[in-house]
């Protein structure tokens, strides 16, 4: 398999490289930044960059859901949780946490890197069949059609799961009203 570096000059690669750098750097910053609110905002940036990569793959539906659910809902929920738990040490990790890189930190970082390198090695060595994607991804219309016909039972199960999660979160966090 002779290496072909023609893709290096394509616009796809440049945009992908920019988005990947943004995603990786902000995910890295999430780990080492001290304020947890900043970590939540870096998480939103990571999710937005990954949504951009989804757009690059012409998966507009998934990109929109990613922006709405991850960058919108989950980030807001995390920030609300940080705000509602009025502890001071949730905002900035104190005392022994301040040391950024203990020995175990480096060790686990190396473990994560080894995992990523191993997976990439497998992907490279697998000789995946070269597939030039022609045509476009499924449209939102096709997704909706098969979601509401073929997959309507899982869809209802997911809605039931969300309902149960909502009720459970309300029950867990609501102060007992009958005690007052």
């Amino acid at each position: 398999m002779s290496p072909d570096y023609a893709y290096l000059h394509s616009g796809d690669f440049i945009i992908f490289a920019l988005l990947a750098i943004v995603a990786l750097v902000s995910a890295f910053q999430m780990v080492i930044v001290r304020l947890i609110t900043h970590a939540a905002l870096f998480m939103a940036l990571t999710f937005t960059a990954v949504a951009g990569i989804f757009l690059l793959m012409q998966a507009e539906f998934v990109a929109a859901i990613q922006i709405l659910v991850y960058a919108g809902a989950i980030t807001t929920m995390v920030i609300f949780a940080i705000m509602l738990s009025g502890l001071r040490d949730i905002k900035a990790e104190r005392s022994q946490q301040v040391r950024r890189f203990g020995r175990s930190d480096y060790f686990v970082f190396v473990v994560g890197l080894i995992f990523a390198a191993f997976m990439t090695y497998i992907y490279v060595g697998a000789h995946l069949p070269l597939s030039q994607p022609n045509g476009s991804m499924a449209t939102v219309k096709a997704i909706g059609t098969s979601l509401f016909t073929t997959y309507v039972i899982p869809f209802e199960a997911a809605s039931l799961l969300l309902l149960i999660a909502m009720v459970g979160a309300i029950i867990l966090t609501a102060k007992e009203a009958d005690q007052q």
Partner: protein
């Protein structure tokens, strides 16, 4: 998309690795939950990459991957909401956010 498939897959693996690193080293419960979301997002990126490169020959297969991704995001949202509610309860009852200090069951 003329990109080799290794690049998006490598990015997904790196996101998963960074999320693993953070979830294993940080002791703040909210931050651990955030890294779990990052790991789930890496898995989603992997799925969408394979779908983009191999699954779009016919219409039926092409619409499956976004549906699976949608379900993954649904479960992630439900898990995050219940997890944050549990964390709020822990903070309210025990006054700590550090998961190392929540050691009621430790012998």
């Amino acid at each position: 998309m003329s990109l080799p498939i290794v690049f998006p897959l490598g990015l997904a693996a790196l996101l998963f690795g960074i999320g693993l690193w953070g979830a294993l080293t940080r002791t703040n419960a909210v931050r651990i939950l955030m890294f779990i979301e990052i790991m789930l997002n890496g898995v989603n990126l992997n799925l969408m990459t394979f779908s983009r490169y191999y699954w779009q020959q016919d219409e039926v297969m092409a619409s499956r991957a976004p549906i699976i991704a949608l379900f993954i995001m649904t479960v992630a949202a439900a898990e995050a909401s219940v997890g944050l509610a549990i964390i709020l309860n822990v903070v309210r009852n025990r006054g700590v956010i550090d998961v190392d200090k929540v050691d009621l069951l430790k012998g």
